[in-house]
Amino acid sequence: MTEVLERKLAVTARDATGQRTFAVRELPVDTTVHELVRGLVARMGLPAQDSAGAPQSFHAFLERDGRHLQASEIVGDALRDADEIVLHPDVQAGARVGAF
């Protein structure tokens, strides 16, 4: 008889400017990075929408590898226990002429 244990990870997540740190526990290895980021954004108090009402995009940066994870990657393939990820927003500032 084969017994399959569901593996789970514990990682740390920070916002881009490092002002808030969160412990992520019981993270199933079959979670996608997209699902992880979506859950983190909600729980970390980050905005879900940009100034135009479109979904605000965040990318998970894996400190150990020095790279941004693809949304489709599987957590069990990309992350190890105690990894640190940083959520980098794709965000725009500026004086759009039409706003005047």
Binding site: G18, R43, D50, G94, A95
Partner: protein
């Protein structure tokens, strides 16, 4: 992070002809209000950044004339802070969250009403906020995720002290005049060299926007129990994507600028960001000087995109935004914006001429 909210908030629209229409419950981003409540405790010295109070409660202050369900302001408080039960607030406390906090949620709700045909596009309206008992804490809580997320202490308590009087003696005050009765912002000092560096970078960018990260120190003023922020450095965001009216921080931008920050001293913390608005987007550039003098557009313009940028990346209550606006003069005007009562507003600041 998610506060306890004992009410759901709706907008009551007043349309032409006296017709009234209530929106569905508003979707409200409470994070800035929560940050504001937590920061009040830090400023008072009853909490530290490493021991931020988690139990925040949001509750309405009722309109003094009409009473419930009409809301005059809201208060985000630590549970231990609440002195007046709902409905007994006779005046709006000066540190309450004003109704302007609801502007964007109301706009979104009105757009939804237009889409469903309950409101005609372009129809004029005014609005008031109503609150009704009901738990709205579940919104965006992420409770269905198969993992747990818990904020951890940062371990960076404020141990430095500074002499506020000495800093002011070496500084020049800038910013809007103080408003009587308004909450007092914590003092921010920007080193003259930092300002000069940012101006040089912005000037070199010509007709493109430029920007970067502001770094600094937080100290507690000696003799007065308030926090003081000193901006000591800027790091240009060289990888940002700029045009004449926008500045985009992509994930690659963050990676590069934060790597540059890491190479610096360890005792600095992110104090905010800066960016420039080139002369090409100055709306008064073609107007005669006498018209500019009275034109409300002839000032610093912190756009909705700028506010969203601040909310997304610089949501911390000490975070400020330095804006360089190139107008008629060779040197840009400089203005500082920061969090106040959960909103981003122009604020006073000091340019530090000599380091103490």
């Amino acid at each position: 992070m998610a506060p306890s909210i004992g009410h759901s908030f709706v907008a009551e629209l007043r349309l032409a002809g006296g017709r009234r229409l209530r929106t569905p419950p508003l979707e409200i981003d409470w994070t800035p209000a929560v940050e504001y409540a937590q920061f009040r405790a830090v400023r008072r010295g009853t909490a530290g950044f490493a021991s931020l109070p988690r139990a925040i409660r949001v509750h309405p202050n009722w309109d003094i004339h009409d009473g419930p369900p009409y809301v005059a302001s809201v208060r985000a408080s630590l549970d231990a802070d609440i002195r007046l039960p709902d409905g007994q607030a006779k005046v709006t406390p000066p540190d309450a969250i004003p109704l302007e906090y609801f502007t964007d949620p109301v706009r979104q709700a009105v757009s939804a009403l237009v889409k469903t045909g309950r409101l005609t596009e372009g129809e004029g309206y005014t609005w008031r906020i109503c609150a009704f008992p009901g738990d709205a804490s579940h919104a965006r809580s992420g409770g269905s995720d198969p993992f747990t997320v818990e904020q951890v202490a940062q371990g960076d308590e404020i141990t430095n002290t500074c002499n506020l009087r000495a800093l002011r003696r070496c500084s020049v005050r800038h910013g809007p005049p103080r408003t009587r009765g308004a909450p007092r912002d914590f003092p921010v000092f920007i080193d003259r060299r930092v300002l000069a560096e940012a101006i040089d970078v912005a000037r070199a960018a010509g007709d493109l926007e430029a920007g970067g990260i502001l770094l600094g120190r937080v100290a507690r003023s000696s003799g007065r129990s308030d926090l003081v922020v000193e901006v000591t450095a800027q790091v240009q965001a060289r990888e940002a994507i700029a045009d004449d009216a926008s500045l985009r921080f992509t994930p690659r931008t963050w990676q590069a600028v934060l790597a540059a920050v890491r190479l610096r001293r360890a005792d600095e913390r992110v104090a905010g960001w800066w960016h420039s608005h080139p002369r090409t987007v100055w709306p008064c550039r073609s107007c005669p000087a006498e018209r500019r003098a009275s034109c409300p557009l002839n000032g610093a313009f912190f756009s909705p995109m700028d506010v969203a940028f601040q909310r997304t990346a610089f949501f911390g209550p000490i975070n400020v935004a330095l804006l360089l606006s190139f107008h008629a003069d060779a040197s840009p005007r400089h203005d500082l914006f920061g969090w106040r009562q959960g909103l981003v507003a122009a604020r006073e600041y000091y340019v530090l001429e000599h380091s103490t």
